[in-house]
Amino acid sequence: MSRGTVIDIFYLVAVVGFILALKALSSPRRARMGNLLGAAGMVLAVGATFARAGLGHVGLMVGAMAIGVAVGVPAARLVRMTAMPQMVAAFNGVGGGAAAVVSLTAFVSTDAKLLPIYKVLEVIFGVVIGSFSLSGSALSFAKLQELVTGRPIVYRGQQRVNAVVAAGILALLIAVLTTDSTVLLWILLVLSLALGLLFVLPIGGADVPVLISLLNAFTGLAVAASGFSLNSNLLVVAGTLVGASGTLLTVLMSNAMGRSLPNILFSAFGAVITAGTSEAATTRSVRAATVEDVAVLLAYARKVAIIPGYGLAVAQAQHAVRELANTLTKRGVEVFYAIHPIAGRMPGHMNVLLAEADVPYEDLREMEEANREMSTVDVALVVGANDTVNPAAKEVPGSPIYGMPIINADEAANIVFLKRSMRPGFAGIDNDLMYNPKTVMLFGDAKDSLQKLASGVVRV
């Protein structure tokens, strides 16, 4: 067997590892093993590549990898659990950038005049999709990190601007195909970067996770395109696997939010969203309560539903909420957690955060199960959640979250909001539930309030 054949066999094993990794990642019990399997496949693929005949610049290569590891590992290790979604966006973006640069370099390094037209087309796909994914992910990162506003950014003539840029990309694509000009390819790269930004601008912060999943699929396709350029089966298979599974995952995620994908991606286009009923809101009043009031309410309840949201994660209050739940359970109060599928910032995010705080798995109820019980609940304790309990999703057809399934906290006998202020949630929409006569507000830092409530309940 030639050296090339042996390397290809290693690549085949790596690819099988990737497929099994994806398979295992979709089952809770084997997920962690799946991730390790994927990593093992990657080590195998990279190791085999070092054995390629005529591979130059090995020292430079190892240096580049050392930089990547030195930056990537601490970044991934040290980031707080709440900031995971933006880390995924960041790592996805650099992958897209790498694919774009690989395609570009493959084009630069060969005499373009010798390339058949389909080869040039493959390069263009890699460059366009990869750069789009890079800039789109960068802006998603900025939105989640709140470096820019999480609200949809819309302006007059937005559709027209996007259409012009897209048309420009199409025209340049044809120009590059006919002229094989490297300069035009660079301009194409810049325009694709711009389109990535323009595409993400009007998407609201609450929808960004679905967007990241879509960009993840795009990066997969960009990698596959690079694979076509380099005649690499490995890249084509792995990239396409991610492209296809990522597309399906994006659809599943938007389904979990009760929205269609086009609705998420394009709903803010053309119409500048008015923030629900905000005008009426400023004139309405809410009932503010003291810690003692709420402690009594909780202590004499039979059944309490805790509805956690991103605010709980931000306040690092997952341990405090468990303490309060323990105190209540000891008094004989039945406590369960109602988990919205997108509580936190991503599907499953809240489960991870609560598991970290040792909240028993059997106390967690998924949304539908929780809603069935909600009418028998005495107190619904909303901790740092907002959009996921907003009745506007059911009642206000014009609302950006209309149609999203919510936890029906309004069916409980009493509703308590633990909130820092009256600031609206991530989607930027006012919440009518706060003005419900059954609702009281307990203002303050969620962690602080929960700790005070726990000691308050003991004293009752």
């Binding site: 590549t49 610049h57 790592f91 992958g95 089966n233 396409t240 492209g243 499953g348």
Partner: protein
């Protein structure tokens, strides 16, 4: 059109079906780790970046190849480490014996 292209295209189509089928039964709590895990897998572009850098002839190509290897390495290691941290949390989900005690509040933090 050459046979090589048709061969790659065949692989592309088949991989698309495999990618679609292999995750079709995922529960919603695993959406985020799965996205992160597949994010790490497309880091395989690192192999492409290595090939490009390994066959660079000019300084410009070397620079581009170098950048590609750095970016792709970030994608790979960051992707797998973040996914592993997310999945670490799932260990605690099967109640161990001491969890029963902890429910009674016997174990202080």
């Amino acid at each position: 059109m050459t046979n090589g292209l048709v061969e790659l295209f065949t692989i592309f189509i088949l991989s698309a079906f495999v990618g679609y089928e292999v995750i079709s039964k995922v529960t919603s709590i695993l959406h985020t780790p799965l996205m992160s895990g597949s994010n790490a897998i497309h880091g395989v572009v690192l192999v492409g970046a290595m090939i490009v850098l390994g066959s660079a002839h000019t300084v410009g190509e070397e620079a581009l190849g170098f950048i590609a290897v750095v970016l792709a390495t970030l994608n790979v290691v960051g992707g797998f480490v973040v996914t592993d941290r997310m999945l670490e949390m799932f260990k605690a989900r099967t109640p161990a014996p001491q969890d029963v005690q902890r429910k009674d509040g016997d174990l202080p933090e």
